[in-house]
Amino acid sequence: MKLPTLHEIGTEAKLLLIGIPVLIWTLVPIYHMFLFAISPKEDAFSGKLWPAHPTLNNFKIVFYQEHYFLRDFWIQFFNSVVIALSAGALTLMIATAAAFSISRLRVPGGRWVMNLALFTYFIPAAFLAVPMYRTMGNYGLLNNHWSLILAMVTIASPYAIWVLKQASDKLPVELDEAATMDGATTLQLFRLVYVPLMMPSLVAIGTYAILLAWNEYLYAFLLLSKDTEITLPVALGNFLAADDSPWELLMTTGFIYALPPAAIYYAFKRYMVGGLTAGAVKS
C-alpha cells in the first residue's frame, strides 16, 4: 500500500476541519430530540450527552396515550396519514392528467396553464394562507379534513405538473403515434403507454406530495382546530401553549412523527434527488 504524502494528509485534514463542524451542525438538534425521547424526565433536564438511565418508557407513554396531552395521539397520527395519502393521491391524479394533456395531447392553452402553475409555485406559502383560510371558511370546509387536503393539492400540483411535463416531453412522440396506429384510444394511450413509462417520475412526485402534506404545519394549524381532527404537527404545536409542557414526551412524539418522512426519503432517495432537483432549478 502506498503511504499518503504529506500533501495528501494536509488535504484530508483540511476536509475533516470542514466535515466535523458540518456533522455536528447537522445532527445536534436531531440528536437532542432523540436524547430527550430516550431519557426519563430527570435525565432529560440534566444537560448530559447520554442519559444515565436510557429508557423506552416515553414511547410507551405515547403509544398507550398515558398523558392528557396525548390522549388523541393515535387519532391524530391517523389523521396525518389519511391527509397525506389523500393529498398525495389527488395531486398525482390531477397533475398526471394535466401533464399528459399539455405535453402529449398539446391541448390549446397548455402553455398558459403551465405559466399559471409556475406562478402558483412562486406564491409564498404563508401569503396564500391568509386568503385561503377565509376561502375555506366561505366554502364551509373549515375543520374538515378536505380543507387541508385541497390546500395541499393546490400547493403541490403546480410543481408536480411542472416536473411531470418536463419528464413527459422527453418521451418520444413515435410511441404515441404507434399506439394510435394500432387503434388505441386517447384513454388507452394514457393508461397503457403514458402512465407505465412515467412511473419513476410519478413515484417521485407522489412521494413529494405525501411528504409535503405530512410535514405541513401552517395550513394544518389554521384550517383544523378540534383535538380529534388535527394532525400531529398541530398537536405538537399545541404542547407549547401549556406552561407545564412535558418536553420529554413532546420530543418523543416529535421523533415518532419525524421518522416516516426520513424513512420514505431514504427509501426513494434515488427517484427524489434526481426528480426534485431537476425540476426545482432548470439551468
Binding site: 444537560g47 392528467a97 394535466a98 390549446p108 386568503p131 410535514n215 416529535g254 426520513a262 426519503y265
Partner: protein
Amino acid sequence: MAITLSGDQAIPGPPLSARLTTPQVWGIVLLAPYILVFLAFVVYPVGYGLWLARHPASYAALWHDPIFARAAVNTLIFLLVGINLKMAIALFLSGFFAQQRTWIKWLSVLFILPWAVPSIPTILSVRFMLNPEWGVINQIIFKLTAEDGPNWLNDPTVALGMAIGVHIWKSLPFWTLILMTGRLAISHDLYEAAEVDGASWSQKFRYITWPSMQTLYVTCTLLSMIWTLGDFNSVYLLTGGGPADLTHVLATLGIRYLRLDQLSLAMASIVCALPFVLPLVYFMMKRLSR
C-alpha cells in the same frame, strides 16, 4: 329575402364539435381538474384577499403599527443577511461535498436529514436547547464558566439571529445539493488544464467554478428569497414572534393579524410585500419558462 339571409350568414363552418378532435376534447377534460383547483383555491382566494385589502384605512393603520415596521425590517434582514449567508455557505459546501471520498459520501447522506425531517419537532428541539434555565447550551456554558448564559430568545436581535440560524439549518442541504449538481456539471478537463498551469485553489474558483455557476447561483438566491418570504415556521416555532412581537417577519405578521381577526390588516400587510415579490416572480418565471 332568402337571398339576403344566405348572404348574411355566409358559408357556415363546421360545428364546434367537429373542429375539436377527440384527443383535444380529452385534453380539455384531463386539464379541467387542475383548472378547477386553480380557480377555486388560487384565483378566488387571491381576488377575494385583494378585495379585502382595498381600504386605504388598513394601510394607514399598518403604517402606524410599530410591529409592522419592525416586521418589514426583520424580513429585509432575513432576506439580505440570512439568504446571502446561506447561499454562500451552500456554495462553499457544494465544493466540499463534490470531493470524491467515501466518508464525504456518508456525511452527505446524513447532511440531508434537516431537509428530510419535518421542521416542527426539530425547531422545537432547538427552542429547548436555547432555554435559559434547562437548555443544554446554557448548561454547558455554566459548566465551563460557572456563569449563566444569555437568555437567547429574550433579546429580539439575538432571537432573530437564532431564527435565521434555524432557517439556514433547515434549507442549507437543499441548496447545497442543487449547487453541487451545478458544480458536477462543470467539465473536469478545465480543472485538469488549470492544474497543469499551476493554478491555485482560489484561481480555479475565480476563473472556472464561479463563471460556470454564476447564473445558477443567482437563480437559486432569488428562488430562495421568494420561498423564505413564505417561511412561517422558522420564526413562529422558535420565538412565536416574541419577545414583545419584535421578531415578526411579514409571513408571521399576516398570520398574527389573522388570528386577531383583523383580516383586512392581514391582507394589507401581504399586499405591502407584493412590490418586492412580483418582480422576483416575474424574473423567475421568465427564467424558468424559456
